[in-house]
Symmetry: D2
Subunit: 210 residues, 4 copies
């Protein structure tokens, strides 16, 4: 069977994508083989260009197209950090680029962002290095405009551990710079039924009633 060489190699590479197992990777291979050569060339080129033509914003680390960058003070920034109408006193700290995109899509937030690039996994200490904690610390230290850090990690075990760690490292600025550190509100979310709610959600929903 096709157990070595380029088919096996590409099957392994496709498995590096989130949520792709060996069977679906193999289906990708045969889909590629069924398409004409122009598709392969276009895809191959686009993958190379992606890295070349994108940059991470120096302010918030959101990945954006170089062509879409906004020049501000001689530096290239993303469309949010380069927009002077956005409130620079507010920094929403999210786990990943997709979180940034989902919140922007809602058009409900007018502040700025910070993308951590990952979460702290309590059982894997090495994950600490993969998250931009130092960059967040330096940003808060050096940016005079920041008045509030909104921690917007997911309500999962990892998201919670990440939030706690951010609170700890930014704590010195609470007194020194009068920084507010907040977390997203908790309680019922769309579709929640009282009958099936866990104790933690009931607790938050009762405390945060209004």
């Amino acid at each position: 069977m096709n157990d070595n060489g380029i088919i096996e190699k590409l099957t392994k590479l496709f498995q590096e994508f989130p949520g792709i197992g060996p069977r679906q990777a193999r289906r990708f291979i045969y889909a590629l083989l069924d398409k004409n050569e122009d598709f392969s060339k276009e895809l191959s080129l686009a993958i190379l260009e992606l890295k070349k033509n994108t940059a991470r914003c120096g302010q918030c680390f959101f990945a954006f197209e170089a062509a879409n960058s906004v020049s501000a003070g001689g530096k290239s920034r993303c469309f949010v950090c380069g927009d002077s109408n956005r409130d620079g006193s507010l920094i929403l700290t999210v786990e990943r680029d997709v979180d940034f995109e989902n919140i922007e899509k809602s058009k409900l937030y007018n502040g700025r962002y910070f993308i951590l690039g990952g979460v702290l996994s309590p059982l894997k200490p090495e994950t600490q290095k993969m998250v931009r904690f130092r960059e967040l610390f330096e940003k808060v230290k050096s940016d005079r405009n920041i008045q509030e850090i909104i921690i917007a990690t997911s309500l999962t075990r990892e998201g919670e551990a990440t939030a706690l760690y951010i609170e700890k490292i930014l704590n010195p600025f609470v007194e020194r710079k009068k920084l507010r550190i907040t977390r997203l509100g908790r309680g019922l979310s769309t579709g929640t039924e009282i009958e099936y709610s866990d104790a933690e959600t009931i607790k938050n929903a009762l405390e945060n009633r209004k």
Copy 2:
């Protein structure tokens, strides 16, 4: 086949239970036939006794065992309404008995309850009569201790319509009796991931941050 008579009749009766379709109802029939006669007798008797030996609390309408009732002022009450340590100024208004039970299980709430017995379905006006709106109105009108009504309906279309209607009918008491009408807090609930949150949840989570 067994298409009329007692098997068909009992199949139809079992389908009156929530979540039971014709196939599962039929499986119940054969399960009964496979059990001995003592089981049928015990089940039959228990169903009759359920109605006889339970009562709905005159205060909150929770269904409870007559044997568990608490006598207070000559009237029988459920274990919450009969407990003088519970805070009678707070009334948590829920859709159903199972909501009451789920919140009690969490041991996080020390006030009292009111069980609506159903929800208002915007497309079915007749549902209005099936919900204890009048009883809630009379309770708030006559009970001097009540200071706050916490509306704890589910975050579904029906739950929201029910909450709005409660706010409307209790509105006269806000000024007259300084009644507070609150709703359970909203935002992220356990397990919520930012990437998959809908705009409504993001809006509530941002507004209710703290």
Copy 3:
């Protein structure tokens, strides 16, 4: 809470039904309490009558309404065993009443049945007593008309163990009475995709091609 007495008792009884856990059992309780007393009485009576008004066929052990029974040779039989147009040389041996009903619904089979009442679980030797192996043996031994036993157990581990055991106990009749013992055909079933088929199904599908 309602942790003893009739509510708890009935919750436990409802959990005896297949597929019903404690939460759904409790929902049944509150559904009963929300219905009027006539419903409880009707349900209670129907459960008692089920046992009284049904009988298992003396030939195939299918449970049927006494009122639907067919008198044949002074004995009460189910509508299949009492129908002289059905082919008595063919006995389809199924696990349960619901299997009988599903096959009858298809109107594709003109022989008779035998209901085992259960399956042999390889890890639970006591299950052997709960299946009508002895009754099947006696039936084949005494009924001169039978020429073929079609084993129609499910293609699960338990169904397979049950089929093997039937083959073993009926084996003496293969030579003595020229009994044919067959099993339902195997291969692709509706919806099967070759890509996702297991080796056993591929093997059967290849062997049984035609």
Copy 4:
């Protein structure tokens, strides 16, 4: 947001893969951005090489690595068609490469294959051109060794339409060349429960009993 340029373009290209929607395509983008540049280069190159280094077998149309090809009579063939121990009188006709791979994995089949490359969708007449019906016809016409065509399409509406069409176009060879045209056996497949079987499966299981 990233709504045009390379990110949007690559998002669209990834959506060409089977089972990939816009949200997962976007996650692939961010996964690529989070990996180092070597990964992008390796992936880009592998996609180009896939087309260059693979070929479809001239006999069965299975896609295989050029390096794995077997030379036979001056022509390059796949590992099955190039293996003289495989039975060339038997051709198993499957929809796709993944079906070939799944059957080979089971090691239960010693004949050869033919890959149709698609299915006939009854509602889309244009699908007829995308399936290798002509190539199958020519192969059967010219290859003297072939004695049996096993149609191994899926038991879906499209698979059935495809099988019927193959029977129709190969029909002339049944008499002329004494060709056998068979279909995979039908009946119960692994895990099938009698209670939930559809009429078609019951019919096949009864007919094909043995």
